[in-house]
Symmetry: C2
Subunit: 565 residues, 2 copies
């Protein structure tokens, strides 16, 4: 027994989400969790700094990231210490994932400007959270200029550059907060900021930059020699050009070592110094790894928002899929193309409804989601006559347009709150189906859908609707913490426990026995509803589309009447 325990190897994954950071210690042999701890960010509302005058603004305090690392890792180690034979020395490697694109302006030494007293009150100096949409004008400008550039910068990010991404945010800062822009020697993605900090490798000129954020968010691609050219950046603003030089190329995948844990950080959390730390990546991508992504398997991370991930072997021609957020070599599983898509609000839409439009009947007692679900579950597909677009926070895939909004159609004088709630769930499912269809149109077959994230874990009602709307079985990842597990997998790889990501995944990931299978009758009705969703989608989401919508309300009523009979 003692000998066996001595051989044990563990990996640490640290997963930075939108509102909190989670540390997770897993057994590299089978992915079994032995210790975890969550630290909720302190700044702002649920960790997000907001501006009541501008619903597009969402920033974070980098101090929360640093304090969150210490607190979450210490907490996870405390819990693991209860496991017989566990010793901190058995942790062979550390992996990190974060939200993204969440660029942080830093000084010449890689210190976040927000942590310097002179910028304490300047929101532009903080981390620009992925869901900050203040830069939509700049995104449109970048899209316009990049589309005219012969380098083809947009071919790998679906043809449209997003307001959520690196260059849009930096350009917006350049235009609106010149003081911060001038003081920022470089801008660092959160996924690179954390490994840099814990390995002490904080010089912006030399710190490793992960291919995942670089490729999906920063228009980095080897086809055009890395980041966009200096003339291109200067065309946005002459002051932007120098940023290209302060960026270590080439960007590298997460199976590479970013550095080793510094003595100072190690001491603070109670780990030995020198543990190898993997290059950071974006949470969704490592979530896909933790969920067991492989060719043919679509991984959906369903929480407040949704990320959809695929990997495609690097054989033959690289895919260009219009409307997806990115296709980047090695961004998910090293050695394969990573494809990313997503919906910018899913659980957030349900939460919006329960916070603002659910009557007392459903909020007075117990959990409002449970109460509404109970009532909504009794409804048949089509019975309400309602149809919703899932764009309350814009559309990421396949329209890549933050300047869109929610839409609900089909209301009568009898429409109830559970009916609207169900329609909102169905709207997000139609959005999910639209992404699957686009991926398949472009030649990547989707043979399997593995779901993870809070909603996939907990919400059978939503998952059954997804199965029915998409008319495919919905599998659920075995781990409830796929992002942190994915990070730990790369910790295991850089720590030498496995030679390849695939080998680590094979041992450390899996799906649950419960699978949501499509109900035939429901799937048939949703197949009638989807063209109506698509008609709204195309009419409202495409600039100059000539649409016929005169049939939409009538068909919704006809389906409703048929269902009620």
């Amino acid at each position: 027994m003692a000998k066996q325990a001595a051989k044990k190897q563990y990996a640490l994954g640290v997963d930075y989400g939108t509102n909190s950071v989670r540390a997770l210690i897993v057994d590299v042999a089978d992915g079994r969790e032995v210790g975890t701890h969550v630290f909720n960010y302190k700044a702002g509302k649920d960790g997000i700094l907001l501006d009541p005058k501008d619903p597009n603004l969402a920033r974070q305090d980098p101090a929360d990231y640093i304090n969150g690392f210490f607190a979450s890792v210490k907490g996870a180690l405390r819990q693991a210490a209860k496991v017989r034979g566990f010793k901190p020395e058995q942790i062979v490697g550390i992996g990190v994932d974060t939200t993204g694109s969440t660029p942080i302006p830093v000084d010449r030494d890689g210190v976040a400007l927000a942590m310097k007293p002179e910028f304490k009150k300047d929101m532009a100096a903080y981390a620009w959270l992925w869901k900050d949409h203040t830069s939509h004008a700049e995104a449109a400008e970048i899209t316009e200029k990049a589309s005219r550039d012969p380098a083809g910068y947009l071919t790998k990010c679906g043809g449209t550059y997003s307001s959520e991404w690196y260059w849009s945010k930096i350009l917006h800062c350049c235009r609106t907060s010149p003081k911060v822009f001038k003081a920022a020697y470089s801008w660092i993605e959160q996924a690179d900021f954390i490994p840099a900090f814990i390995t002490g490798n904080t010089d912006p000129d030399t710190m490793p930059r992960g291919i995942c954020a670089a490729g999906h968010k920063c228009m980095y691609h080897e086809d055009w020699g890395g980041l966009p050219s200096k003339p291109f950046l200067a065309g946005l603003d002459p002051k932007m050009a120098d940023l290209r030089d302060r960026y270590a190329a080439p960007a590298i995948p997460a199976d590479q070592t970013a550095g080793h844990l510094t003595a100072a950080v190690a001491k603070k959390v109670g780990l030995p110094a020198g543990i190898p730390v993997a290059v950071g990546a974006i949470d969704a991508h490592l979530g896909a790894v933790g969920a067991g992504i492989k060719p043919g398997a679509l991984v959906k991370i369903i929480g407040t928002s949704t990320c959809d991930m695929m990997v495609v072997p690097m054989t033959g021609k690289e895919l260009d899929v219009p409307g997806l957020c990115g296709i980047v070599p090695g961004s998910i599983v090293p050695g394969m193309y990573g494809i990313e898509a997503g919906q910018p609000a899913v659980g957030d839409i349900f939460n919006w409804f329960t916070s603002h439009l659910a009557p007392a009947e459903f909020t007075a007692k117990g959990d409002v989601h449970v109460n509404l679900t109970k009532a909504a579950q009794k409804l048949s597909p089509g019975q309400s006559g309602l149809l919703a677009l899932d764009w309350n926070n814009g559309n990421r895939s396949i329209l890549v347009d933050p300047l869109l909004s929610g839409l609900l159609v089909g209301q009568t004088l009898h429409t109830t709150a559970p009916e609207v709630y169900r329609a909102l769930v169905e709207g997000t499912a139609f959005g999910a189906l639209t992404i699957i269809k686009r991926i398949e149109e472009c030649g990547a077959e989707v043979n399997e859908v593995i779901n993870c994230g809070g909603i996939a874990e907990k919400n059978a009602f939503v998952m059954q609707i997804y199965a029915d709307v998409c008319n495919r079985p919905m599998k659920i990842s075995r781990s409830a913490q796929t992002c942190a597990l994915g990070a730990a997998i790369f910790g295991a790889v850089v720590g030498g426990a496995y030679k390849t990501t695939e080998a680590a995944q094979k041992k450390m990931t899996g799906v649950k026995p419960t699978v949501y299978r499509p109900n035939k009758a429901a799937a048939k009705i949703y197949a009638d509803l989807y063209p109506l969703y698509r008609a709204l989608h195309d009419a409202f989401g495409t600039a100059n589309a000539q649409a016929k919508l005169g049939h939409v309300m009538k068909e919704l009523i006809a389906i409703r009447e048929k269902t009620r009979k």
Copy 2:
């Protein structure tokens, strides 16, 4: 004093609404109210018989009409008795208005089938309330057949025959309830049923039929010799043709006498027998009379639904206005064309929202409408980024289509209940403006808008938005009971107190000193929003329209951002 009191003359108006009946006794000299009483119908929910399986069904119990007459008139007389010198003998005439089209199947003697034991349980035997929409398929069929008929039956009702109207309902009964259809010797509009009952003139073959319901709801017009021809009715169903013979032509206006109060009814309520009773008319039309309608003045009755009325002097060519519910000689003010339009749900939409989607914050204490209004009043036009179509109960004018539904666009993750509430109010105001524009397009100038009904009376918030959206002053009728007052005006005319309706109106009606005047800044923003409303209106409301809607969400966001700055 005693002599003066002895000369006093009063008129009684009896106003049958959707949920209750009101009797009103007024001084014919100045319209002053001396006694009133409301009787709430007993049957069903708020007086309406519903079918949980079919939201389109809405029926009423004719027994409520009869019991309601007795109770309301007795109550009004009780109250008037407190006025010094008042005597029931001073009532010179009685007028009646009702909802419509609300046809009632009756036997050979004019007795409502629903009041006979053998039909007690058959919903088809009851009164088919105006807002019953079960007959939409029949309405479409009638529209289709009438549009091909050279008689031009649809030219006076806006080109589309409604599911709310007489022949649609009768044809639906013929198709779905043959037993009731066979037992029905004739079908009588509620507006004719009440005068028939209280004057004892109940023979369907000879009882007077009012031009108001006949012209606006039953395709009655002198141009084609009254009701549609027997071949046309037989073309709908051979069994329908005979109904044309069981209908006394010509239909006549409300300044004519329908008969005199029977001794039995008089005794029951405490009035002398023999008082002249005016021909009945539809509530909205008499409401317009009570509000002081005259050429150039649009009267809006704003309650659960809205009716819009105009009168046009009978000089020159008769107007044909596409999309209005009807243009009928003498239907409002005898001697002028009466024009009717409307919105099938206004207050009903606000009530739907407060019943189903208002959170506890607004429902827990006090009146939910007051609470939401307080919050919604603080918002500027355009600030929410929301836009609503007011079609939760279909669209009467200018689309004449019950198979439409509500629509809300512009939701974010921050959209609040007061924002939605305000957007719904604005949606109904845009609907109101669409009607005004259509009337003016067809050559009838709208110089003045006089509002009445519950919302006009009580809701300054809604009325200010109507003023701002329509960019016109909104006047409010002096009387809060314009329908009952309009009925009383015709009571005064048939009772000999005045020679003409206009002369009676001049003395008995007026507007309040308070006028809602448009705010210039608000009107400017609404002028930017209206084209977006209209784009949705035309796209969803027109069968084969090619619409461009890609700008709608973007312009709503742009207006929102401009307003918030």
